[in-house]
């Protein structure tokens, strides 16, 4: 009866990642001054389910690791220990580490346990170290990374010397029918072994007692006649061992004794043999380990990405720096092993973790409300359908009124159904926002700035595809704001601002769009600097006159790489031009506004969904085209007074303060349609890429939501056309790509100009 558990792995990973997200957000929300028991419980529960799940699916690396974490959480939860900043930092590190491990497991690769082992050692140190020493250190230190690890180092060494005689002697005398109740002692021993080995340095010995064994002829095959003595050499807690025997504790005799308290005459010799050869090595390396671990953890903490070289260097230097001390003997072998392991693993560590990409998450979680709504809707649709069906069977002209009513109802049902189905893909933007508290926290530490992150409109819903693609550009913007936008503490106080800067993430609906703003109250964009940089790069001429908006817009130019303007935090290869391009791919736009000394606002405008668009239908000749409603500024009737003719064929229109070029779709699209006199023609003024153009159309038809269909699937990409849709009468209408049209018309203009010249 074997169930293939692997089919549930995906679910486990998803749940665990969710659990990790919960842990992370709860940890960040934790107010150390006033610890909320419920938050701790939430964290504990998340950790517990991860451990449970991992155990079930046989991911022992994860369950073993989560276990120590859980133990500490349990102590905090039960009030045995106060939670401190060190703990929070370590828990956060654990969350990262677990995420990495699970990413590895999900991708089917062997997880790299180096970091996990380190963290585990730290936890064990805290768990076994004396609380006074710990708290004394903690009061003295700030939460900066190096000092945290320094603290860990001390408690680490304390644990190493204090845990000399760690281990348990277990007498296990099961009742005779233990096998009948489905409890297999061997399984428990194995579990015990896993538990001990999960500690990194543990081992168990099982000594069976055969005294009770009857003669073979009297032996009943389902009875258990054996009893065992188990020696566990490991720092594990008694409660963990008890957990293993939990199922049989009522039926069996089990006694636990600390190894230190019992007479190990049987094992002493054995132990000595092993120990003597290791002692020599142990004395020389033990002190180094303490150091190297501290060094490594410091490096790990201060820089996530590029530490492989530093790590191994640090370890090597630590090794060569020998300071023999009185070393605890029992740990010698383990410690030695640890050094080797660390040396082995540290070097290749960075490469795979950086190159690894987590397997794409293809499922989507939908709230039950949405599903219920959908089912309701389908129910109504079925009713309408049967009503119409009945009507159709016995139809005569007198019932035309009912038919119309029915069709109206059908239309309403269909629209509602469509909306509900679309809503399934909609997720609250908090999914994209959730990573920022952590990002800002880490980054502000790294940059030594004080930052408050404010997130508004987290429940604003956004299409999942859009959400996935907007994540990276948002991260880039937030990093930028933190790095360049906000000033350091000193500069801020000098300028009479609060010492902590504020970054506000705001999301809200605006028309058919969602607007996401990244706002900081920093120094604002430096116009002169941008200008001089642009001149230097040859993007603009020295004497070119630019409005503020145009200057700010320069930062999105491809040549204007952030690397010139910046430090190590930004400049990760994603320039602002890439940000803009990514957003443009989603049919969105990005704008920046800035006030010197007050800060800047980057606002991203995105369509709610990629599948549906609000369109204005226009007629040119016999063809119907669709303009995205969002890009339409206004529609007007041309008057002669507005028109100006420049360079012969090109007309511009004066629209208040702007001169707007006028184009005819007939020209651009090469279609046969009579060109009408411009005077009195209907003109739709559209804006794309921050430039306005006026498009002459024959007629404005209605506005409607259109479903975007691909033209490329069977044909190919067409310039200035973003897709096609099917109208109510079944014919195809093409959707005009306004920014594409803009480029096209300017290309054409320049062509004509060169020809004219």
């Amino acid at each position: 009866m074997s169930i293939d558990l692997s089919q549930f792995h995906q679910v486990f990973f998803e749940e665990s990642f969710e659990g990790l997200d919960i842990m992370e957000s709860s940890l960040l929300a934790l107010d150390l001054a006033e610890v909320d028991a419920e938050t701790i419980n939430t964290i504990f529960r998340a950790a517990h389910s991860i451990k449970g799940g991992a155990g079930t699916f046989g991911f022992m690396q994860i369950s073993g690791f989560t276990h120590v974490l859980e133990t500490l959480l349990d102590q905090i939860r039960s009030g045995e220990r106060d939670i401190e900043q060190v703990h929070v930092d370590m828990f956060l590190e654990c969350v990262d580490c677990l995420r990495g491990l699970m990413g590895d497991l999900q991708a089917g690769t062997e997880p790299d346990m180096t970091q996990a082992d380190d963290l585990k050692a730290k936890f064990e140190a805290i768990l076994s170290g004396n609380p006074e020493a710990g708290s004394a250190e903690n009061t003295a230190e700030n939460s900066s990374a190096e000092e945290v690890s320094a603290g860990v180092q001390k408690s680490d060494s304390a644990s190493l010397s204090g845990s000399d005689e760690d281990g348990w002697k277990i007498e296990f005398i099961p009742c005779e029918d233990v096998l009948c109740t489905g409890n297999e002692p061997y399984r428990m021993f194995r579990e015990l072994q896993d538990l001990a080995e999960a500690e990194g340095n543990g081992s168990i010995e099982v000594i069976p007692h055969l005294d009770e064994l009857p003669e073979f002829s009297k032996m009943h095959p389902e009875m258990c006649y054996l009893s065992w003595t188990i020696i566990v050499r490991s720092g594990i807690e008694l409660s963990d061992i008890e957990e293993i025997f939990e199922w049989v504790v009522d039926d069996c005799e089990i006694t636990y004794k600390r190894l230190a308290d019992c007479d190990l005459s049987v094992l002493e010799n054995h132990h000595r043999q092993e120990g003597s050869s290791e002692n020599i090595e142990a004395e020389t390396v033990i002190s180094n380990v303490v150091e190297s671990e501290a060094v490594e953890s410091a490096v790990v903490e201060s820089a996530d990405d590029d530490n492989s070289v530093n790590d191994s260097d640090a370890l090597e230097s630590a090794e060569s720096n020998k300071l023999p001390e009185n070393a605890p003997e029992t740990h010698a072998a383990a410690v030695n092993e640890k050094i080797e392991k660390a040396l082995e693993k540290v070097a290749p560590k960075a490469a795979p973790s950086a190159a690894k990409k987590p397997a794409e998450n293809t499922s989507i979680r939908v709230s039950i409300d949405k599903i219920d709504g959908l089912i309701n809707m389908v129910g109504e649709l079925v009713i309408t359908q049967s009503m119409l069906g009945q009507l159709g069977q016995e139809f005569d002209v007198s019932r035309i009124q009912r038919l119309q009513e029915g069709l109206q109802q059908l239309e309403q049902n269909t629209r509602e159904l469509q909306e509900s189905v679309m809503k399934i893909r909609m997720l609250p933007i908090s999914f994209a926002f959730s990573r920022f508290p952590r990002l800002v926290r880490d980054l502000s530490k790294q940059l030594d700035k004080e930052v408050d992150l404010v997130m508004l409109g987290e429940n604003t819903e956004l299409d999942k595809t859009v959400m996935e693609k907007i994540g990276d550009p948002l991260v880039h913007l937030v990093r930028n704001s933190l790095d360049h936008g906000l000033e350091g503490v000193k500069e801020r106080t000098d300028n009479g601002k609060t010492s902590a800067g504020t970054i506000t993430l705001n999301a809200y609906h605006h028309g058919g769009n969602i607007v996401i703003e990244v706002q900081d109250d920093g120094a604002g964009l430096n116009k002169d600097r941008i200008r001089s940089k642009a001149v230097e790069k040859g993007l603009i001429a020295e004497d070119e006159h630019l409005t503020d908006g145009q200057i700010y817009d320069l930062i999105f130019q491809p040549g204007f790489s952030t690397a010139d303007v910046v430090s190590d935090v930004s400049g990760r290869g994603v320039g602002m031009d890439v940000v803009r391009r990514n957003i443009a791919e989603l049919n969105g736009s990005i704008d920046v506004s800035s006030t010197p000394g007050k800060g800047s606002i980057f606002s991203i405008r995105l369509p709610l969904t990629l599948a549906i668009l609000d369109g204005q239908l226009v007629k040119v000749g016999d063809e119907v085209y669709i303009f995205p409603l969002v890009s339409i500024v206004e529609s007007i009737q041309l008057e002669k007074s507005m028109l100006n003719n420049i360079t012969g064929s090109q007309f511009v229109m004066q629209l208040r303060d702007d001169y707007v070029p006028i184009v005819c779709l007939q020209d651009i699209f090469n279609i046969d349609a009579e060109k009408k006199d411009l005077e009195g023609a209907m003109l739709v003024v559209v804006e794309g890429d921050n430039e306005k153009i006026g498009i002459v159309v024959d007629e404005l038809l209605g506005q409607q939501q259109v479903v975007i269909k691909s033209l490329e699937q069977n044909y190919q990409k067409v310039d200035s056309i973003s897709g096609a849709t099917i109208l109510g009468d079944g014919t195809v209408a093409l959707i005009v790509d306004i920014s594409g049209l803009n480029n096209h018309s300017s290309d054409k203009n320049s062509d004509e100009q060169t020809q004219a010249a």
Binding site: E623, V624, F669, K709, L711, N714, Y715, V718, V732
Partner: protein, 178 residues
Amino acid sequence: MTNAAQQSQNDKASGAGSDDEQQYLTFIMAGEEYGVDILAVQEIRGWEATTVVPNAPDYIKGVINLRGTIVPIMDLRSRFSLERVEYSPVTVVIILKFETERGERVMGIVVDAVSDVHSISDSDTRNSPELIEDLNTEFIRSLVSVDDNMIILLDVQRLLTIDKQLLNIATDVAADNE
């Protein structure tokens, strides 16, 4: 199904000379009979008005809505530089499909009339003679005689892979207009 069609096309291309008979749908255009692999035919429809695609070569009549998919329609007469005729109610559109790297593509061709279905053995086909350098011959896979009538067998994939030529022609058209 389409794979099978391709497979058989490949067989022919390599001149395997197998006796497997292959069915071809034939149609008439300007008095000549043409054939396409029947497995590449999705359906046959009457002519309906299309939506014109901007800057398309003139043999692309536009796109239609085929049960929710946008399908381009090619006028085979103008593709083969034949004299144009007015479309009538009997004008037929054959919807063809074929595999590409990007997945299945569907396209319609406008022909004068559908003729027949013939089973043709590979060994009966003849390569078309090397004619003058003409773009149009590249769509012809082979020639075959059935009941003393010559049928021109077309290579669907080549016929419908328009992307490369399309670009050139589109620019030519643009140049002509200016």
